[in-house]
Amino acid sequence: MSFYELVKSIKSIRFGILSPEEIRKMSVVNIVTADTYDEDGIPIEAGLMDRRLGTIEPGQKCQTCGNRVRQCPGHFGHIELARPVVHPGFAKLVYSLLKATCWNCGRLLLTNEDVDKYTILMDRYRRKWPQLRLRLADRVIRRASKNTECPHCGEHQYKLKFEKPTTYYEEHKEGTVKLAPNEIRSRLERITDSDVKLIGLDPQIARPEWMVLTVLPVPPSAVRPSITLESGIRSEDDLTHKLVDIIRINERLKDNIDAGAPQLIIEDLWELLQYHVTTYFDNETSGIPPARHRSGRPLRTLAQRLKGKEGRFRSNLSGKRVDFSARTVISPDPIIRINEVGVPIEIAKLLTIPERINSYNIEQVRRLIENGPDIHPGANYIIRPDGRRIDLRFPKDRKAVADAVSIGYIVERHLKDGDIVLFNRQPSLHRMSIMAHKVRVLPYKTFRLNLCVCPPYNADFDGDEMNLHVPQSEESRAEAGVLMLVQEQILSPRYGGPIMGGIQDYISGAYMLTRKETILTREDASQLLARAGYSGELPPPEINEPKELWTGKQLASLFFPSGFNYSLKSNVCLKCPSCKKEDCENDAYVVIRDGKLIKGVIDKKSIGAGQPESVLHRLIKDYGTDVGRDYIDKAFKLFLAYIDSRGLTIGLDEEELPAEAKREVLEAIRQAESKISELIDTYKQGFLERLAGRTLEETLETKIMQELEEARELAGEIAGRYLKETNTALLMARTGARGSFMNLAHMVACVGQQSVRGERIIRGYMNRTLPHFKPGDLGAEAHGFVYSSYKDRLNPIEFFFHAMGGREGLVDTAVRTSQSGYMQRRLINALQDVRVEYDLTVRGTDGSIIQFKYGEDGVDPAKSDHGKAVNVEKIIERVVKAGGG
């Protein structure tokens, strides 16, 4: 049964072309009958399912090798072609060969001196630059093809024409003549071995004439198995169908030749044979119609079996399937740590880890065995030292089994809390798409993950599913735990900054907690800190009279390590021309001194995901991933606790503007409109100044668009002035938690210009977008300007234009994802085994150098300071602070 005795290692691979002799030598049967089985279902002798081609039914012995199904490798047969045909895969090379050699004497069309020169060159290339050999061969062919007279026999060379896929013509004075494959073959036969070498082929394994087939190999029946349907009807493989066609035409051709049929008929059949052979190799050859099944479905022939996503390579050789994996829907869990993943009990009971019994764990393991496969911390199998497996589903008395195990046994126990597993969400575009998590076994049926790991996985909870894999060896678990654990991936190599961090409510919560007006009673403060898992002392209250009160900043400070100093501008910063820094009246300048938040509000710039140079970034860089992880686990819970206690909602009446503001918005739009009609007037009178590089019409369009864009911006500005400070949407936009100011303006003021392909909407009827407008109307309303805000509702025409713009967005995303996916695939294929060596050179697998220093500066972006190896400013700041403070 064992194949292992036969396993050999591959030292090198050499590709060549099968010669007719070789094809006959490896063939076990010459196939002459186009049929497969007779009425009784017995394979026909010398038919396509001949017994000698290998066994396909179990219990049968192979007529060639005597083996049974599993052992019989299958054997090739062959078809003797009545007339030669060109192998379609070599058609182009055959063309080059014909062009480069003399039709009469078969020599390369080069003078002897040239031949000598190129022979020497070829020899040197072979030794020094073997990769360039084919380039030289190309040059030889190009040189030789230019010659119109043979330097050896003096014959004039005719011009050759190649018509895809397999036809060649020679241009004589009297007209063009088609070259028959047998003529081609005899010309190729005349090429000398030394000339063949100059063309870049090895004549030992690839003689040119072998590119024209005289014998066709028939693959073993195991390669093209026939299937028996339930109704008892046999259905043959596509390849068999194609071979049937080939044999049928081949036999007809043979008969006609023997009968001395007219040349015309023979040529027709010959061409048909060429067609069948061509489609047998590749049924998607350009220039010829694909061969079809009776049902009209194109046949899946040799090339189709290998090519593409569903082909042999990508689907069967690169496509791996694994055990010890699980997949289910994901849902959020803000309570578990970022390093953890919630695993449903049902999954934990199916996924196992092999654990070897030793004197330390034997008691626990015995308890697991007693629990068996159905009670959670249990076990599914025991592997005895002799390799036998005991299935724990069957023994009635598991207690006895548990007592029987001893040191050296291996138990496949259920997944339990703290086990390291790999967690993945497709598409796996970067290394953070697969991270190691620690298991947390939980009830219910979804994988649970902390919200802070959503950005690296690009996950949300609208039905996303994720995969989980359980490493089975100590080494793999250790490696995953050290290199791939979530906390080790917080800093992304994509840009110098943390890819994980606060999103949405975390940011709103942090902002609300840390702003000036937040003061808390002892009770509130204790409650919040308890939820965050803080167990130390409460700091002394900021305010003592009339009663003890704490500020939000005080609570947020508790999670910074002491001695931590940092300062930055927050997201709410108005970007004043001169920054007052610590005296900012908006509390937008964050100052952390000795681990205390002195000034400023915490928002997206401080704790946001994907924010370089943030508090979080600095914390991790200065204190390590353990501190960073702990901060996210605890402080972030405080932010959520606060937002939970306060509540954060958005309501329709919040998006209402006072009548005064509405008037102002309207006025702004009216003004823009009058400017536009002025523009249109000047255009119609022919006074409009043309902009450089545009036509008059384009100029008008751009100017109108500019005007409308300004109008919308102005409307937004007005709206912003009138919105209350307490507006939640405004809070979220300002802190960077969600949405932008523009979104808000769309809701309350004016949606603005809709566009398709970067222009105002112009499609629809002739000279107008909709029948509601006059032809040639250039006004804002007629070309997709939406006056209303979402709150005020859109009128039907506005709605229609809005849908047009929205549709373009959807189509764009769909197109972009497929395009960037393909680009990613190609980049990964090209770069997959490039690596950085210890000397910081970037090299390929063969040691060839690609970069002399990684990224020219040898800096790891994940460990760098915003792309630079060191951040001088920060260092100075720290030194000065330390000296001064």
């Binding site: 020094k128 630059w129 360039l132 380039r135 060839s848 150098i849 002399f852 220093k853 020219e856 500066d857």
Partner: protein
């Protein structure tokens, strides 16, 4: 258009054919064969301008936005 020296163009970095000993030193320090260096064709405009021949190694000194000055090497091959 008049003739111009492409090496004078500001976007073209500095090229220099290395001496035998230098090549040997470079080879040793990187632990590679000459063929493992990135290649440059003899027909490359720069090869022609500086007269590099197959087997030569060319040193390129570039100004780099990230590293300030970066040095690279090319092994000249026929073609």
């Amino acid at each position: 258009m008049g003739k111009f020296d492409l090496l004078d163009h500001e976007l073209v970095p500095q090229f220099r054919i290395m001496a035998k000993e230098e090549i040997e030193q470079l080879r040793k320090s990187l632990g590679v064969r000459k063929e493992d260096l990135p290649w440059m064709l003899k027909s490359d405009p720069v090869s022609k301008a500086i007269g590099a021949k197959p087997g030569d190694v060319v040193e390129i000194v570039r100004k780099s936005p990230v590293a300030g000055r970066s040095v690279a090497y090319r092994y000249v091959v026929p073609g």
